[in-house]
Symmetry: C2
Subunit: 438 residues, 2 copies
């Protein structure tokens, strides 16, 4: 499933690989600016990065999918309206505060768009706003508007890396994936580490291309790619109020076949989705669940989600404990809630390729137990170690490898399949989230 099997020894090696991925497609410029401000609701100094992604010329060919959360952020409300606009000229993104259900939030988002339009010589309606961070607080609009000229002054046409770095919150490292196709290229960046179980879209993802694809096709392709990538991951089963995936074409390159473009788009989305999980809050093991033999892809996806969202199984994986009973519990919980039962007599389960369940019963022995433990250990990203104060903080800010805990679920009921990716549940997740705002 992943297009790569990368390993990195240290931060520098990883950043150097990211830099090589980061070349911008033709027709785009990126600039960021970081500044200090004081939130209204919790008067304590904070810092925010403003990121601008600008097109050299407004384009009609842009697509976006947004969160399904019933309390979407103001940028989502505005963004949905932007889909009806004839052209897009720029995206303005801030981290730290997500502008969700804050009093006057939509007006504030529009004020920021208007200021960005002035700085970039565009109309407000040509700006897509995005915000991520604390839910409930108000955007510091004045400070953002004051910072916009500096972000515009920083615009450059070489690298998307500043944007990949500018949009992060609790991420440990930036995430970039790219692909050259004919004379053009696609490059995508992702932000997101917690509150990740996307529905229809996810976290903040921006994919830029200079390959010409008409708006309607671009939007259909994005929806299909998101369904098979970001909609099949979960870090903590929480669906963000700000999830956004945007895909923008500058239309400069016209020699790439649509099927080739769509295939590259799918791969970039799958790779970024896995990157998001690997960098997920507290994730020490990436868990990949391949469900096969399903009557339909939806059931296969839901079974995979049931496994990667089961806290007890996630904790067992964190402890390199092959607790197969919790895997069966998780599948059985989901299947037991279906309106009509499905036949489980042909179900076969593997972990790391080792059969652990078939013909309705467990297939376990002490030798398998050792091999299963080793499989979990080889997928561990780092060893958990508390600080002197008892806090659990990841000791690395790069992905050392791309190995996963591989779960196989063969249902024996049909020909559909789905791969779902999630993470374990660790002390690092609790440390990160038990007092995120302070």
């Amino acid at each position: 499933m992943p297009s790569t099997q990368l390993t990195f020894n240290d931060r520098e090696q990883h950043r150097s690989w990211l830099s090589n991925q980061a070349t911008l497609p033709r027709g785009f410029r990126v600039g960021t600016h970081r500044f200090a401000f004081t939130p209204i609701e919790a008067p304590k100094p904070a810092k925010m990065t403003l990121t601008l992604i600008a097109l050299d010329a407004p384009t009609p060919d842009f697509a976006a999918v947004f969160t399904r959360n019933a309390f979407p952020g103001a940028p989502i409300v505005v963004g949905r309206q932007r889909l009806d606009e004839p052209t897009l000229g720029a995206i303005v993104i801030n981290n730290k505060i997500s502008n969700v259900c804050a009093p006057g939030g939509t007006a504030t988002a529009e004020r920021v768009c208007a200021a960005a339009a002035t700085a970039l010589n565009l109309r407000s309606a040509q700006i897509l706003p995005s915000s991520t961070g604390v839910i409930g607080w108000s955007l510091p609009a004045d400070a953002m508007i004051a910072a916009l000229p500096d972000a515009a002054a920083a615009l450059q046409a070489d690298s998307i890396l500043p944007a990949a770095e500018g949009i992060v919150t609790t991420d440990l490292y930036p995430k970039i994936r790219s692909r050259a196709l004919g004379a053009g290229r696609l490059v995508g960046i992702a932000k997101g580490a917690g509150m990740i179980e996307p529905n229809l879209a996810t976290m903040l993802v921006y994919i830029l291309t200079d390959i010409a694809v008409p708006r309607a096709e671009l939007r259909a392709m994005l929806k299909r790619a998101v369904d098979e990538s970001f909609n099949r991951i979960s870090i903590d089963s929480d669906t963000s109020t700000s999830d956004t995936v945007a895909l923008v074409s500058s239309g400069k390159i016209t020699d790439v076949a649509p099927a080739e473009f769509e295939s590259a788009l799918h791969q970039i989305c799958r790779d970024l989705a896995e990157d998001v999980v690997r960098n997920g809050e507290g994730v020490r093991h990436v868990i990949r669940v391949a469900t096969t033999g399903a009557p339909d892809a939806r059931l296969a996806t839901q079974i995979g989600k049931a496994v990667v969202n089961a806290p007890l199984f996630k904790c067992a994986v964190a402890g390199n404990d092959p607790n197969v009973g919790r895997l069966v519990q998780a599948i059985g919980r989901y299947l037991g809630n279906l309106p009509s039962p499905i036949d489980t007599s042909a179900m076969r389960l593997t972990i790391g390729g080792i059969e652990i369940f078939a013909e309705g019963v467990f297939k376990l022995d002490p030798t398998k137990e050792i091999a299963l433990t080793q499989h979990l250990q080889q997928a561990e990203l780092y060893v958990s170690q508390p600080t002197a104060e008892g806090a659990f903080v990841p000791p690395i800010d790069f992905p050392p490898h791309e190995r996963c805990v591989e779960i196989g679920i063969e249902l024996g009921l049909g020909n559909d399949a789905a791969v779902v990716i999630g993470g374990d549940l660790t002390h690092e997740y609790v440390t990160e989230n038990a007092d995120y705002r302070s």
Copy 2:
């Protein structure tokens, strides 16, 4: 909602209160025996307690509800058959191994029933088996059968406390609730601390009464009581493969009105359900979500479940952090997944009675923030403190108080309501579950 507002200063005070609750109704005897054995799948010495609950005379008036997990344990398979039997004579319960999908598991359960029947002068089909513990391992039938005469020899008619202690696994303390009614009484015990989001039934719960209620009425009453109690709690959203709630009447007391009995049964179920959450794995705050103004009780229940199962909100509560954004996210995630949207414009949220959201926007200020933090602090059961080795272990084995984090969700859409109870997500939960079996 709770019938009590108890506080305990230490283990002795709690045990003394439990002893006072524990008087057995007429017509029942209880005996336990603890013994050592070696599991087949992981050859390391372990200990198991066998618990017998016996009736002086077999009764036709018994009821039980079981887990909906699609991979139920062998005792559940056998237990469902027992519901068709004319009478019940005894319950035989073991902890440590749950006998789920183990090769030959049903035959093993029946062997244990047969041996219990011999010891108690009953027929096998008059014995209800129950098992809880590790999923996937096989029951040590020979060792259990050898231990049965000792459990039978320990039978006594005074107290249910030995059974409440005998059935536990990761529970920190036994759970007993009782109520006197006329000349009779109900007494219930519960086991369960993890893998708790019951569906139709939950964990192991046994409620005994000497009040005469005919079988059909008893079963209908139990279903209604379970729906409003155990089906409205969640510790970790994991549904056990062994959930069982059994209610048995010895029929000795005939002067209690059915409505009075049912009301007491509901209260005992609600109290035991809250006891299970308060003693839940790693729970440091009990979260009570009261959803009102709902168009139906199911929606109210599901919204409550969405809140108590949202990992980010649970972590925030663990850290005494009133992260109201995560509360709105959790509600919005659930509502966003409904097939048709519901009107949220009248939604009003409170924490500890303090309004935090109304008219579509947050109602926050620094003063409220302090009050909200204090509300979370007063509901904390103990302060988290790692051991020298970095493990997080609860420092108490009794419930110091019955205070909750009180969440109010007024939907303004109807007249139905539901109270759902859950816990926070803590380092203590991860420590408990990252290496449960070793």
